[in-house]
Amino acid sequence: MHDKRDQVTGNRGQEETLPPVTCNLSPHYTLKELMTIVAAREIKDGDIVFCGTGISMLAAMAAKNINAPNSVIFFETGAIDSLLEEVPLAVADSRVMYWTSVNGNLADAFATMQNRISGPHVVGIMGAAQIDKFGNLNSTVVGDYFRPRVRFSGSGGACDVASFVGRTITFMQHEKRKFVPKLDYITSPGWLDGPDARRKAGLPDGGPESVITNMATMGFDSITREMYLSGYFPGFTPQQIQDNMGFEIDTSRAVEVAPPTEFELKILREKCDPHRLILG
C-alpha cells in the first residue's frame, strides 16, 4: 500500500484533484480537507498509524496534532515517526528517512503489524481500485486475472496490513465502478464473505472499520459485517450516495457528518500542510 492516489482519484501521476461531483460545498473548507479531518477523527490516542503517502499521511499528521497526540506514524518501509518537512512522493522517498525514531526495514515493519501485542494497536489507512460490501479490496486487476483489462500495481503491503492489524480505514473515490458487488480480484481481506469468515479463514481479529469517500463515510455492521452508510457529507444526500454505488447499502443509520471545526481546519492548514502540498 503505497501511493494509491491513482486508484482513489483516477488521475494517475498528477496532483490529486477534487472529485467531479456537484454539491453545496461550504466555501469554508474543501472536500479534501473534510475527508482528511474525518479520517483523523477516527485515529485514537495511542494508535500506531500505518499509512501511505498523500491524504492518508496527512490524516495521520492531523490526528497527531488534533485528537491523538500520543499516536505514532509508521511506514511499511520501516520508517517510524518521520519528521516530514516535505511531502514524500512514495513510502520509500528519502523524506520518510529523515529524523525518524528508528530506520528499520520491511521485515520489522510487517512484523510489528503481525505481532500479537502491537498489531491490534495498529490502524491501517488504505486505498484500492475496487471495494465490495464486506470491505474487501482489489488493487491488482480489473477484468480476468490472467488477461486483465487493467493491471494495477498489486498488493504491496496492503494485503499484509488488511490481514494483520486491528482496524483499517479505506479511502475511496465515490464511483459506481469502484463500489462493486463482486471484486475482480481479492487483494486485501476485509470481512471476506460475512460474520465469521475472517476467523474461519484463520485471520487475526480485526478488519475494516470505515470507508471514507468524497461524499460520505461508511461503517460495517457489527453483526452482519456489511457496509452501511454512517455519515453523509454536508451538501450530499443519502440517495445521491447510494446512486453512486454498485450495491445497495443500509442508509437508515446515516447522519450528516459534522463539518470541520475552526480548530481542526486551523491545525490542518497551518501545522500539517502549510504549503498545501497535499491539500492542493
Binding site: 520509500a92 528519502s94 529523515y98 498489486g154 498488493s155 503491503g157 494485503c159 481479492i186 481481506p189
Partner: protein, 325 residues
Amino acid sequence: MKIGQDKSVSLSAAVKKYVFSGCHLSIGGFTINRNPMAAVYEIIRQKIDDIHLYAHSNGQGVDELIGAGCVSRLEIAYAGSGRFAPTCIRFKKAVQSGAIAIEDYSNYQMTLRFMAGAMGVPFLPTRSSLGTDIIEKWGFSKQMRANDSRLPNEKLMIMDNPFGSWGNAPKLVLVPAINCDVTILHVQKADREGTVRMEGLTFSDIEQAKCAKHVIVTCEEIVTSDVLKANPDQNQIPSFCVDAVVHIPYGAYPTACYRYYDYDPAYLNAYRKNAENDMRYSTYLEEFIYDVTDHQALLNKIGTEQLNAIAADPRTGYAVGLDRR
C-alpha cells in the same frame, strides 16, 4: 563465494559474469529509491533476456527491464514508482498484453521469501493473505511449476497450526524461499572486499543479498575497510556475501540515494510520458540506453545542472525544495 579479495570490477564485467539469459535475478531498492539503475541499464545494453525477476516493491528498475524486453517472468508485490507512476507503465502494458508471466505476492510475503533463502530454510510462515486471491490465483500454473526445477512446486501452502492453539493462529500461509542466481544492490558505501554500509532504510536488501548465489554491489563510494570498521554497527552485509563491487557514482539515478542525491523528477516524468507510447519508448531506449556507452555517459547527457538540482542537502539527506512537479 570469495573472501578477503579485492572484488572491485567494472560494471560491464560484473554484469557479463553474473547476469545471463534465463537467470533468476533479484534487484534491491524500493519504488524510487536505491534501485540499481546503472546495472539495470547495463543489463539492457548487454541485451540479456528471458530474465526471471524478483522484487518486493520495485518501480523504476523493474519497469525499465520489462520495457526493454529483458524479462519473461516476474514475481513481485508491487510495481509502482510512487507519484511518478503509481502503476509502472511498461509493466502494466506487458501484463495486459501477456508479454510477461507474473506471480503476485504481498510485500511481507516477498520479504519472507528472501528471508527464507537467506536463512537456509525452504519456507517461512505468515498469516497474511488468508482468504484472498493471492492464495487462490496462481500466475505460474502447477504444470509450469512441475516442469521447472528452478520453481517451487507450489506458489504457497496453507497449513493448520501444528502447535494447536499456541500462538492463537489456527492457520498459516507458508511461502517458499527464493534462492536466486544473482542479486544486484545499489548502496552508499562499500569496501573493495564487499563489506556494505547502507544509510537510511535498508528495505529488504540484506535478505535479498543473502538469498542469492552471487551478489553484485554497486556503490556511490568505495571506502577503505578501516573507514567501515571504525563504525561496524552501521555495516550490514559482510564481504563473504558479495562477489563484485562496482564503483558507480549516481548508480541509482534516476532513483534516489539517501544522503547522496534525490530522485530526478524531470527524468521520471519524461520517462512516464515516453513509456506510454511504444514508438516514443523505442526512441527512449535508443537515446538514453543503447546509444550511451555507460552510466557516466548517461550522466553527461543529463548534465551537471540537473545533477546539481538533485544533490542531497547534508542536513536532511534529500534535495530540499527540489521542483518535484
